[in-house]
């Protein structure tokens, strides 16, 4: 179909708008000068400073642990929720369940953060757990957030799945659990990977909820970045941002190639 000049201009403008800030961030990260408008020569000194910043490194490690834990929990919960919604048919409380699964998607993060914090405070008073806030409370909060997204991804794949393989296995006498583990899970595996990655990224990126449910001594990387960014522009953050962009770009291009190769072959 003919593409009009107007649409092409809109596309160019849109992509420039999306990528200009990212490009500038990368350029600034190699600028020896602190001032964004002055090019002080090429330098990697901000990367050096970043690797010596203990607070950032500790926060990054905690963030990765939280993200891996919560993505795994979110995936397990999301698969169960998807099975409930797609396969269990009618049951009492289905409406409420469906509402609870999808509501976190549209819940403002400040409300989710506040609500979970109030729960943790109430629980600590009532049963003495969680004793202070940190890794466990952030991981629980992120699992709840990630579960909603994981459910959406897995649910749509499960609903599209051809059931004849499962039926064949059942006819041959396999028990439901075995059918699920040996047939269903491998068939929906790509959606499981996508759901895990989505939950992982959401957790790594979250600052609002984490700020509510983290405690002293347990700061995640976004919290650390947020508090340093509030004080103004800092070259170390430029370097950190560039590293994140580089990792993501490499991973996405690899995934893209892999998918393209599979489709082509």
């Amino acid at each position: 179909m003919r593409r009009s000049g107007g649409l092409l201009a809109a596309l160019l403008f849109g992509y420039a708008f999306l990528y200009l800030p990212i490009g500038l961030l990368v350029a600034w990260s190699f600028n020896a000068s602190r001032v964004v408008n002055v090019w002080g020569g090429f330098s990697t000194k901000w990367y050096g400073e970043l690797t010596r910043n203990e607070a950032f490194l500790d926060a990054a490690w905690l963030s990765l642990k939280v993200a891996a834990t919560s993505a795994t929990a979110a995936l397990a919960l999301g698969v169960l929720a998807a099975v409930v919604l797609v396969r269990l048919g009618r049951f009492r409380g289905r409406m409420l369940f469906n509402g609870l699964v999808t509501a976190p998607l549209v819940m403002p993060e400040v409300i989710l953060g506040l609500a979970l914090l109030l729960l943790f405070v109430a629980l600590e008073q009532a049963v003495g757990w969680p004793d202070g806030r940190g890794f466990a409370t952030i991981a629980i909060a992120h699992s709840t957030m990630g579960m909603a997204y994981a459910t959406v991804v897995v649910r749509s794949r499960l609903a599209q799945m051809d059931r004849s393989l499962e039926e064949a296995a059942m006819d041959l006498g396999a028990r439901p659990l075995k059918v699920f583990l040996v047939i269903t899970l491998p068939v929906i595996a790509p959606s499981l990977a996508a759901a895990w990655l989505l939950a992982f990224t959401l957790s790594l990126d979250d600052v609002v909820v984490a700020q509510f449910v983290s405690g002293p001594g347990a700061t995640t990387l976004p919290i650390e970045v947020f508090s340093s960014v509030r004080l103004g522009v800092s070259p170390q953050i430029n370097a950190l941002g560039t590293l994140i962009v580089a990792v993501v770009a490499v991973l996405i291009v690899l995934a893209w190639r892999l998918m393209a190769a599979r489709r082509g072959g």
Binding site: S4, L18, V84, L100, L118, L119
Partner: protein, 301 residues
Amino acid sequence: MRVGGWRGGVGRALVLAVPYAWLVLFFLVPLLIVGKISLSEMRAGVPPYEPILDFADGALVGVRATLENFALLFEDDLYVGAYFQSVGIALVSTLLCLLIGYPMALGIARARPDRRGPLLLLIILPFWTSFLIRVYAWMGILKDEGLLNGALLWAGVISEPLVILNTDAAVYIGIVYSYLPFMVLPLYATLEKLDPSLLEAAADLGARPWRAFLSVTLPLSLPGVVAGSMLVFVPAVGEYVIPDLLGGGDTQMLGKALWDVFAFSRDWPTAAALAVSMLAALALPIAVFNRLQARLEPEEK
């Protein structure tokens, strides 16, 4: 057979119970607690609110619920202002996203099929990089001695630096920038399904491209418009990071007000009341959205 049925029953119950229990404990109950605390009085101490129910010797002796926190929200110009400013900023940002995002989605949908994938990937890619750091990049662009002012001064368009950072304008830019992909993706999904023969028919009947767009493309893409608008509007109302980093002292949005009240004033009941009223503000658009989605979806086919 009975044994098999029994085992299936237990398995079924387990599959249902685990996610259900998680959602009730870590989503429903917390929201109910927010509702409860929004009705209680503040006090100095840990936790900083009075219990609503008075127990003595294991028996309920009194209920102390108050609507004072909500009354305070309505009396205080700060919160009323934040309420209207949040909804206003979110609305304008949604419209701006639509204006920029619609032509982009249309452009991608009409691109050669082998180019659509990479073009879409480029829309999604920023979403996978840190949101916080992308918002932060705008600080370097928009500040008084930032890149935009530098370029405009150098080009001689302005003689004094424009003050953009810490104003509402910067908040609009930040929100539109962050949520644009959420607008483009659902729009693309509906536009891509659009049957090109409809447009050819319109052209054969003598409709100019603009007319064909207004009477064929636009009405058929309404589900995407509604979905994209909600995906931008709802999180924008509760946005906290963008107004905090890019907005100024007079940009009061609900999400930021909630955090400030919670963290700095340590007034949990008022923070909870703010959360409840924010949910009330969002309940209507979400309900309208669900209605429209339900009504528009059969027409998609």
